[in-house]
Each structure stands twice: as structure tokens, then as C-alpha cells.
């Protein structure tokens, strides 16, 4: 048994098998020191999207799970910090970071892992990912506004861009499904790998943090790479055609990553996440005529092409008129209202997921979109866009926002550092 994983290059298109770990890698978790770097031949290349088994590099200038080609599955969890001790919080972030490095490499956590420990002790790793490949697991952490209250001496470090989201017209927020001190977004091509990751991080956190709410998602509703096809949301429409893509490096600096001139220092290279649980009234949507559906979205349902165009990636022409003089893309359509042209050029990197959480007491599917959007400054991006949508979008008849969160996602970690280290130093 070695401490070094087999590089994927020797194991093409197959993930590592999971094994219990002894020694250095495991001890890293036990002591909360991320002394373990996963050697990965896979870098941030579009090819990452193709190999759904392999690992995604955990370390880097930015956190993985933002521009990473969107995986198929989500387990998102928001935590409340229950400890009042700053040292406890720092210790937790160190332990989480070390565990995340192992989890994303497809490894068991702990000194003994899932099955190699003593009979009398509960296994350190819960075990349901044994035998599963890394499955492109990414773990992305963000800090909510409430973490910057008086408890941990962070008030002065709260970024100005980390505002409390305003009330948007029509918001029907359930506080038990909103907000949170810390968010962890786990994305993977295997739902069990994503669930395993959140479950084990929650377990490490008992007594220091408590899960406030969590959300499972499937069928990514956006692509973040040109190598990916555009998926469909539960309205049956292609979603995210014009999303920011990892190939647009200049645009990412402009729209996604916090720049040195933005500050604060600890956020440079990070990004702001807005999460919204958007419930869809799918039963009434499904009774809506095809023409009306397309008018509400502003695109053809089959092709995903802008109305009046043939191909999904054809340019949106907001001046094109029908024979009767009305615009081909209605002025109150979703694509128009959300488009950079009408939002001072603001864009978002969306990586939301569909959800169906069974059904409600009235027999309606509890279904919708768990919207996740990353951006450089929510004050200039999500907030104005959503204000415009909340006021004018004809889609509002079919959706309502029931959960909400905003989080400052720090830059990436290098081996030996931990999530948010600069915030605490």
C-alpha cells in the first residue's frame, strides 16, 4: 500500500480505486494539516468534461467547482456555525480542507478510512464511496454574511460586495432553506460521491457547525465549457447557452474573479456565489401552449435557437420584428431581460441544477431549479439582473423563489494552506 495515488495517465479514463489509507495522507486529516497534494495529470482542460471518472485537481489559484466543466450531480449544504470559538472554526476549516483534498482524489478520509480501523471504533469514513471513482468531485466553500458578525472578529473583513440580498418582488423565502454561515457545494458525476462528501464533512463538523439545509440536484442546467452540450431545465428548455465559459479567460477576469483592485485581499481570486431555490409550478407550465412557452423564454424549445433564428448559438437579435411589427423576441421574455445588453454588460457564471424533492402535500412535484451563479460583484451582476426579472419576467407566473443565499468564496488553496486562510490571518 502506498501513499501515492496512481496518476490517471497510467490509468486512462478510469478513476483511482478507493483504498483505506495508512500513514501520511491519513494523518494529514487527523492533524488537520493539508500536507497531501493529489498528483493529477488532469488540468483545467475541456477534456475534464469527457472523463467522468477521473479526479479534478483540488489545489490551484481558484477553487475547483466554479469553472470546472459542470458535473451532472449536486449536493449543496449550508451550515450554521454553532461554536463560538474562532480557534474551533479555524481548526474545522483546516480539517475540512484536508478531508476535501482526499475526497476529491477519490480517497477515504481518516487514518484508517472506511473499513481498516479497529472493530470497536466507528469507521472514520462512512464508506458508501468505497469502490467508486473520484467522479470529478469538486468541493467549493463560501462564507455567508452572518459569519462576519461579532462572533469571530471578522466584521471588519466583510467584503463590501457581500451584501445582504434585497427583497425581490415575489420572493417567498423559507428562512430554514435560506442564508447560512458557510456553504459547501459538492458537485460530481456520481450522486453517491457528492452525498458522501457532504455527509463526511458534516460529520467532521458536529459540535462546531450544524447543517442548516441541504439540496440535492441533478442534470446540470448549464454548461461552463464549450466542450459540453447545453442541458435542459425542467421547463424542457435548453438553459445556459450564453453562459460564461472557462475558455473565455479575459471575460472571466472581468465578470467572475475578484480582482486586486476590488479587495479585500483575502478575496482576490475568489468569487461571489448566489444560490436561489426556484420552485417551478411545472403542472401549469405543462398546460401552457408551445408558442407561449417559447415567447416566455425567448428561444425555440427544440433547437434552443433565439426566436427567429435556426441555431442555438446564433446571435440574439433583439431588433428583429415580426410581420406585425412586434419584436420576434418579446420585450418581457426571459432571455431578453437577463441579457447583458439590457444589464450594463453584466453576466453570470451559472451552474445550477434541477431538483425534484418528491412532492408536496397537494400532490404537486416539489420541483424546480437550484440556481447557482458565480460573479465578481453581486451588486453589479445578480442584484440588478434579478430586480429586472422579478419586475418584468413573464416567467414569474410559473416560478417562485423559495430559498436564497449569498456567499463569498475565497480563492483556491495551495498545499499546506486551508480554505479561507487569509481571512483569518
Amino acid at each position: 500500500m502506498t501513499d501515492e495515488p496512481t496518476p490517471p495517465s497510467e490509468n486512462p479514463r478510469r478513476g483511482f480505486s478507493r483504498r483505506g489509507l495508512f500513514g501520511a495522507a491519513g494523518a494529514a486529516v487527523a492533524t488537520g494539516v493539508a500536507g497531501y497534494a493529489v498528483r493529477s495529470a488532469v488540468s483545467t482542460q475541456p477534456s475534464q468534461a469527457a472523463d467522468t471518472n477521473g479526479p479534478v485537481e483540488f489545489h490551484g489559484p481558484h477553487q475547483a467547482g466554479i469553472t470546472t466543466p459542470v458535473q451532472d450531480r449536486l449536493h449543496f449544504a449550508a451550515f450554521d456555525v454553532t461554536t463560538t470559538s474562532r480557534d474551533d472554526l479555524i481548526a474545522l476549516l483546516k480539517e475540512w480542507t484536508a478531508a476535501a483534498a482526499l475526497l476529491t482524489a477519490g480517497r477515504d478520509i481518516g487514518q484508517y478510512g472506511a473499513v481498516n480501523g479497529p472493530d470497536e471504533a466507528p469507521p472514520e469514513d462512512t464508506g458508501e464511496a468505497v469502490g467508486l471513482p473520484p467522479a470529478r468531485l469538486t468541493l467549493t466553500v463560501g462564507f455567508g454574511p452572518t459569519l462576519f458578525d461579532k462572533r469571530f472578529g471578522l466584521a471588519a473583513k466583510r467584503p463590501k460586495a457581500l451584501v445582504d440580498l434585497p427583497h425581490f418582488i415575489g420572493d417567498d423565502l423559507d428562512p430554514t432553506r435560506s442564508y447560512g454561515d458557510i456553504a459547501v457545494q459538492a458537485c460530481s458525476d456520481d450522486p453517491q460521491v457528492a452525498v458522501h462528501a457532504i455527509r463526511n464533512l458534516a460529520r467532521i463538523g458536529f459540535g462546531r457547525v450544524a447543517v442548516r439545509y441541504s439540496q440535492l440536484g441533478f442534470g446540470r442546467t448549464s454548461s461552463t465549457s464549450r466542450a459540453q452540450s447545453t442541458p435542459r431545465n425542467l421547463f424542457g428548455f435548453k438553459d445556459g447557452t450564453n453562459n460564461l465559459k472557462l475558455e473565455d479567460a479575459d471575460k472571466l477576469e472581468q465578470q467572475l474573479w475578484v480582482q486586486p483592485e476590488d479587495g479585500p485581499d483575502w478575496m482576490v481570486g475568489g468569487s461571489y456565489l448566489v444560490s436561489r431555490r426556484i420552485r417551478m409550478n411545472i403542472e401549469i407550465w405543462d398546460r401552457t401552449s408551445l408558442g407561449e412557452q417559447e415567447g416566455i423564454i425567448g428561444r425555440g424549445k427544440g433547437t434552443g435557437a433565439p426566436l427567429g433564428k435556426a441555431d442555438e448559438f446564433d446571435t440574439l437579435d433583439f431588433n428583429a420584428k415580426q410581420a406585425d411589427g412586434r419584436p420576434k423576441i418579446p420585450v418581457d421574455s426571459h432571455v431578453r431581460l437577463a441579457h447583458p445588453t439590457f444589464n450594463q454588460g453584466a453576466e453570470l457564471l451559472r451552474r445550477g441544477y434541477n431538483f425534484v424533492d418528491g412532492s408536496d402535500g397537494l400532490g404537486r412535484l416539489d420541483a424546480g431549479l437550484f440556481f447557482l451563479a458565480y460573479q465578481r460583484d453581486p451588486r453589479k451582476q445578480f442584484i440588478p439582473i434579478q430586480n429586472q426579472l422579478a419586475k418584468n419576467d413573464t416567467m414569474n407566473e410559473y416560478i417562485h423563489h423559495v430559498g436564497s443565499g449569498i456567499f463569498a468564496c475565497p480563492p483556491g488553496v495551495t498545499p499546506g494552506t486551508y480554505w479561507g486562510e487569509k481571512l483569518f490571518s
Partner: protein, 379 residues
């Protein structure tokens, strides 16, 4: 009394015997304390006065008389509230003796009027020959004997209080039965894992209505609870009251002679917190009376007693875990204190948010407690 008992060789914290209960007049003057005889403890609702606070290592006797209006308990704690010896259920106007073997060291003598909270505490110093160095086997042996003593004293009190409860039920005294219901259950809940090890006694005594197998009759505490709180009556309850006392007496007899291993202690400590997490936090346990918080507190106390019995063994193997356990036990008790009402608890009708907060603090304790068994198992 103690002088007629043989001295045992340096086994820490073994209660050699508890003198018979005797009534004593409240104004009886304290025996003159020449530093050799029993330590007299004058307990009241607001005081816990010892005739002296330093004793010689070896066997000590504490004569505890309760001059207060509340039932009290007397404990001798080592560091971290490890129970070296205790007497439970000392009613007003009663006197009971605690005979306990104490090695050299610093202790606390504690009275708990109303049997709640941290109690009234004072230092107790034991001087004399330094204790022999104990090896780990001895540490574990002492852990089990210390915990068995705890189980024994809880069992005695369980039988006494259940007898009182059953008597009130059969007398048709609804108010008194309601008052005694959570008190008698406290002793049950503290040692529940031990009771559960006796097979079908646990369901007979403690089944909720939805736990009952089809074809078997629902009996026990909760059957009577339903009559008391839903019907506000004891009608038809006599046979269940008799059955409950019979079953409790069987458990008590078994509990007094049960032999436990250190691993059973550790696992029992975890199981008690499992009980809290699944039954008490949710309010499922005492769904008619809403006295869940009494059970909650008792489960955590029982868990703590088992963990503290293992404390010396844990301390030498994983001091960091001991520190964490101390902190997290304190946190749970502090959370429970918010729901105190006099000597008891407010009815448990907590909001989802309150339940969630209690659940989180229990999770925080249960996780390190689940690690105790593995540490104890290390050779």
C-alpha cells in the same frame, strides 16, 4: 458501622456499603468532629455543610442528613465529575451514609437538592499515602466497578420512586402520579442501556404505543402516561401499575448483579445519546406529558456517568478527547438549563428551531462519545 467492615485493598472508589436509612430530627446537633469519625453532612435546600473538608486516604464515611424540603443527592466527585460515590433519593428529614474508598487527591463534595443541576459544591481534600500507580487493567477494572456502583444506586432509587408512582396511580391520585412520573423515569433513563440488555423487559416497561407488536398488550410507563394526561384519570390502570412495578423490580434485581465490560460502558454512553437524538429531541418519548426533557437530562447524565467512570483510562490514552468530552457535556447541560423550571423542566413543546439547536449540541457530544469505545479498546 464501617469499622466492622473488612477493609479492601486499595480499590479506588468502592462503596463498601450504605448504612440503613434512618430518620433523624432536623435539629439534631452535628456530631463533634475530631477528625477521625464519619464526616457529617448537613444538607438543605440551599446548603451542603461538611463537618470537615479533609479526610485521610482510605475508607471514609459521610453521614448525610437532609434538613431541607426537597429530595437531595450527595456525590463525591473526582476531577471531571467522575463519581467516586453517591447516595440518591435522600428525602426530607432522612439521613443516609455514604461509605467510600478515596485515594489521595482533590475531590468535590456535592449536594443536589431537587436532584438537579450542578448542585452545591465544596472542595474535599484527601491526604495520606500516595495512591499506588495503577496499570491500565486496573484502570479499566476500576471503571467497571465504579459504573456498576452507579447503576446499583440508580436501580435502588428507581425501585423506590416507581413504587411511589405506582402507589399514587393505584390510589387514584392523578396529580401526585403526574408529579412522580418524570422523577421515577429519571432513574430508568439514566441506566437504560443496562435495562435494555435484559431483553423483553425494556419494551414491557418503556414501549410507546407505536412500538407495540401486534397481538401483544401495551404496558408500562407510557400506557399509564396516556391515561394520566389524556384521560386525566387512573381508571383501569391498576393492573398496568402492578405490572410496571413487577417488571421494574426484575430489572433492578438484574441490574444489581450485572457484570459489565469497559466496552459496554463506552457503548452504553453512546447508546444513551442515540436515545436522545432519536426520541427525546423529537418529543416522541413523552408525547402525552411532554416531560421529555427530564428523560433527556437523565440520558445525558447516564452517558456522562459511564464516560467519567472510564475517565482515568481515557486520560492516559487520549487526553484531548477527555477535554473535548468535558466541554461538550457542559454544552449540552447548558442548553438544557434554558428549559429549567424549578426543580424540573418546562413542558417540551419546543419549536423546530429549538429542537434543531438541541439536536446540534447533542450531535456535537455524540460524535466524540462514539470514539470512546475505540480508545478504550486500544491495548
Amino acid at each position: 458501622m464501617s469499622s466492622s467492615l473488612p477493609r479492601r485493598a486499595a480499590v479506588l472508589g468502592v462503596v463498601i456499603g450504605i448504612a440503613a436509612l434512618t430518620a433523624c430530627a432536623k435539629d439534631e446537633p452535628a456530631a463533634k468532629d475530631d477528625g477521625t469519625g464519619p464526616v457529617s453532612v448537613k444538607a438543605s435546600d440551599s446548603a451542603c455543610d461538611l463537618s470537615r473538608r479533609d479526610v485521610k486516604s482510605g475508607t471514609s464515611t459521610f453521614s448525610v442528613s437532609n434538613g431541607g424540603s426537597k429530595i437531595t443527592e450527595f456525590y463525591v466527585y473526582a476531577e471531571g465529575d467522575r463519581v467516586m460515590g453517591e447516595v440518591e433519593n435522600i428525602g426530607p428529614g432522612l439521613k443516609r451514609d455514604l461509605i467510600v474508598e478515596l485515594p489521595t487527591g482533590k475531590y468535590q463534595a456535592v449536594c443536589k437538592p431537587g436532584m438537579v443541576g450542578d448542585g452545591i459544591r465544596g472542595d474535599l481534600t484527601v491526604t495520606g499515602n500516595a495512591p499506588a500507580q495503577v496499570d491500565t487493567d486496573t484502570e479499566l477494572k476500576q471503571a467497571t466497578s465504579s459504573y456498576q456502583r452507579y447503576v446499583n444506586s440508580q436501580a435502588v432509587a428507581l425501585e423506590q420512586k416507581t413504587t411511589e408512582f405506582v402507589t399514587a396511580v393505584k390510589a387514584g391520585d392523578v396529580a401526585k402520579a403526574k408529579a412522580l412520573f418524570p422523577v421515577s423515569r429519571t432513574y430508568w433513563e439514566r441506566i437504560e442501556p443496562v435495562a435494555e440488555s435484559f431483553g423483553d423487559l425494556d419494551p414491557k416497561i418503556d414501549a410507546r404505543v407505536n412500538d407495540v407488536e401486534p397481538g401483544t398488550e401495551w404496558t408500562g410507563y407510557h400506557r399509564i402516561e396516556q391515561a394520566l394526561w389524556v384521560s386525566n384519570s387512573t381508571k383501569g390502570m391498576d393492573k398496568y401499575a402492578d405490572q410496571l412495578l413487577t417488571d421494574v423490580k426484575t430489572v433492578v434485581a438484574k441490574a444489581k448483579v450485572v457484570k459489565l465490560t469497559p466496552l459496554q460502558l463506552a457503548n452504553g454512553a453512546k447508546e444513551l445519546l442515540d436515545e436522545v437524538a432519536t426520541g427525546k429531541v423529537t418529543g416522541e418519548e413523552d408525547r402525552y406529558s411532554h416531560t421529555d426533557l427530564w428523560d433527556f437530562q437523565a440520558n445525558v447524565e447516564g452517558s456522562q456517568a459511564a464516560v467519567q467512570a472510564l475517565r482515568p483510562a481515557l486520560q492516559s490514552r487520549d487526553a484531548a478527547l477527555v477535554a473535548q468530552l468535558d466541554t461538550n457535556f457542559k454544552a449540552v447541560f447548558a442548553s438544557l438549563d434554558k428549559y429549567r423550571d424549578g426543580d424540573g423542566f418546562k413542558p417540551y413543546t419546543a419549536s423546530e428551531a429549538e429542537k434543531k439547536a438541541l439536536g446540534a449540541v447533542v450531535d456535537g457530544l455524540a460524535e466524540p462519545v462514539s470514539k470512546v469505545a475505540g480508545v478504550i479498546a486500544q491495548k
